[in-house]
Symmetry: C2
Subunit: 299 residues, 2 copies
């Protein structure tokens, strides 16, 4: 199977208690594609400026990420600058320069109009809806979002949620979106809109999946060395959908395994800044950590 | 096996978004003993005032809790008044009247000086140390505590931690006690003091267990009807140690199962105010929820 991701590609300047980095390769589509590339063919649709280092494109291509849908526009690349304190759950933004991303209009390459799996990473829900217009068919569509769109474009976001097979959100976003503290109530409310399942990402507390009939709680991995949490959610999504694409099995049991592979990829992603850790990750390491997750969760 | 608990017995007045109750039977020793009584013989050491309703003692006895160590002192019973908002993780205290509990000196009945399992519920660590002087032998000793003692009696608490087999804390307390945001570092620091294992209770995010060699993550149960979170941690401890007492098996695998039984008892406890829900709980319901936990966690 083939996965298409539509989202942001950025240059991130990040400081955490464990180090700092300037203009590292980042963005939701980037982190997703890197993680998914360990399991599946991936195409990326996004936009960068003319300042975007060719090395970064070479790196994505070296992971077999198809960047034919990555537009290079006149101007500067989307730049984000932020820092984390010891409580690594919360990013503090210092500066956001949307640059070419401000006028981003996704354009799917001809050969990516029927992806098996489509991931609508966190972008303006109106753009997510526009992607539906360019897709002939897709077997499994998943969306992510963020608090900004919940606050400012709720009705467009509602339309997106109604049209996807599975919805990914942070737990705090789900509570905000559904106006309830209860994640169980949030899941019911979202499932009634259309998706067959929802996954709530809880950072250091793991992830929860609710479908109509079942509930799954994935633990987080107890990490020794968290360098940089940026991109954890997108690498989770990449591992999750990458595994589903590889196995071509959308059963409840396999979705549980896919959530653990997502958690594995997120746990590795945060061990380095930007895409550093995934750049040197091996398949053996992925399998090893999957088995460690089993040992953490089973009784 | 037999379990002895030393802790508080209180009359709680609680308001939550889901109801309110005045002078309900509460306290750390109470919630622990009620939960543990489903699995094991339990003795309770604590103090109440002359105003304490005989009905409450009859209720504890009806669960086969041995209250021969429950002193009735002149004066009023310990009273706590508080409320919870929709985020049920945080109790807001309106009033605390220590009353007879202020001068509590635990006195173990002769026939409870060699309990198989000893639970030092959340009381002044100097009193927890005093209990050690009255115990001839105990196979497995567990302590709980709270932020107040970490802030005000750290060195006494250190002595308690050094002498127990297993230490229970909320995750926020463990971070505070060990001065680190990392629960992994907290666990290392506490294990180096003596305990063979630590369990960090995370409320709606479940519980983590660390031993020298292993890490276990127990999920929380997705509850429809949380009425009152008071006593969740103590009923967790009661189910946990009750199951260990019943099975007489302190292996790593059985400790994992015991943590799930603890989670089961906590999940039922919060479905009612005070001890209401446990008062009408059945063994079948306990087994049913244990199996549901398996279904939530396994992949």
């Amino acid at each position: 199977m083939k996965i298409l991701v539509v989202g942001s590609v950025a240059l991130d300047s990040i400081e955490t208690p464990f180090g700092k980095v300037d203009d590292a390769l980042g963005g939701s589509a980037t982190h997703f594609a890197c993680a998914a590339s360990f399991f599946s063919d991936v195409g990326l649709v996004g936009v960068v400026g003319s300042d975007f280092p060719k090395d970064h494109i070479d790196f994505l291509n070296s992971l077999n990420v198809d960047t034919s849908g990555l537009e290079v526009a006149d101007g500067e690349t989307f730049k984000w600058k932020g820092y984390y304190e010891y409580d690594l759950n919360h990013a503090h933004t210092l500066d956001t320069q949307l640059n070419v991303f401000e006028h981003f209009k996704p354009k799917l390459p001809e050969n990516w109009r029927s992806p098996d799996i489509l991931f609508l990473a966190n972008i303006d829900p109106d753009l997510q809806l526009e992607v539906f217009n360019q897709v002939d068919k897709a077997k499994f569509v998943v969306c992510d979002t963020m608090n900004y769109w919940i606050e400012n474009k709720k009705s467009s976001l509602d339309e997106v949620v109604k049209r996807v097979d599975l919805c990914l959100m942070n737990d705090s976003e789900a509570r905000q979106y559904c106006s309830t503290h209860s994640l169980l109530e949030s899941s019911r409310s979202m499932l009634s809109m259309g998706p067959k399942a929802v996954i709530f990402k809880k950072g250091e507390h793991g992830a929860l999946m609710f479908s109509g009939s079942s509930h799954f709680s994935a633990p987080a991995f107890p990490l020794e060395d968290i360098s940089d949490p940026t991109g954890a959610g997108d690498s989770f999504a990449g591992g999750f959908l990458g595994y589903l694409s590889k196995t071509e099995d959308f059963s409840e049991q396999n979705i549980r395994r896919a959530i653990i592979y997502g958690s594995v990829m997120a746990s590795y992603n945060v061990e380095g800044f930007g895409t550093d850790r995934l750049a040197r990750l091996t398949d053996d390491e992925i399998e090893k950590r999957f088995n460690e997750f089993k040992n953490i969760a089973h009784f």
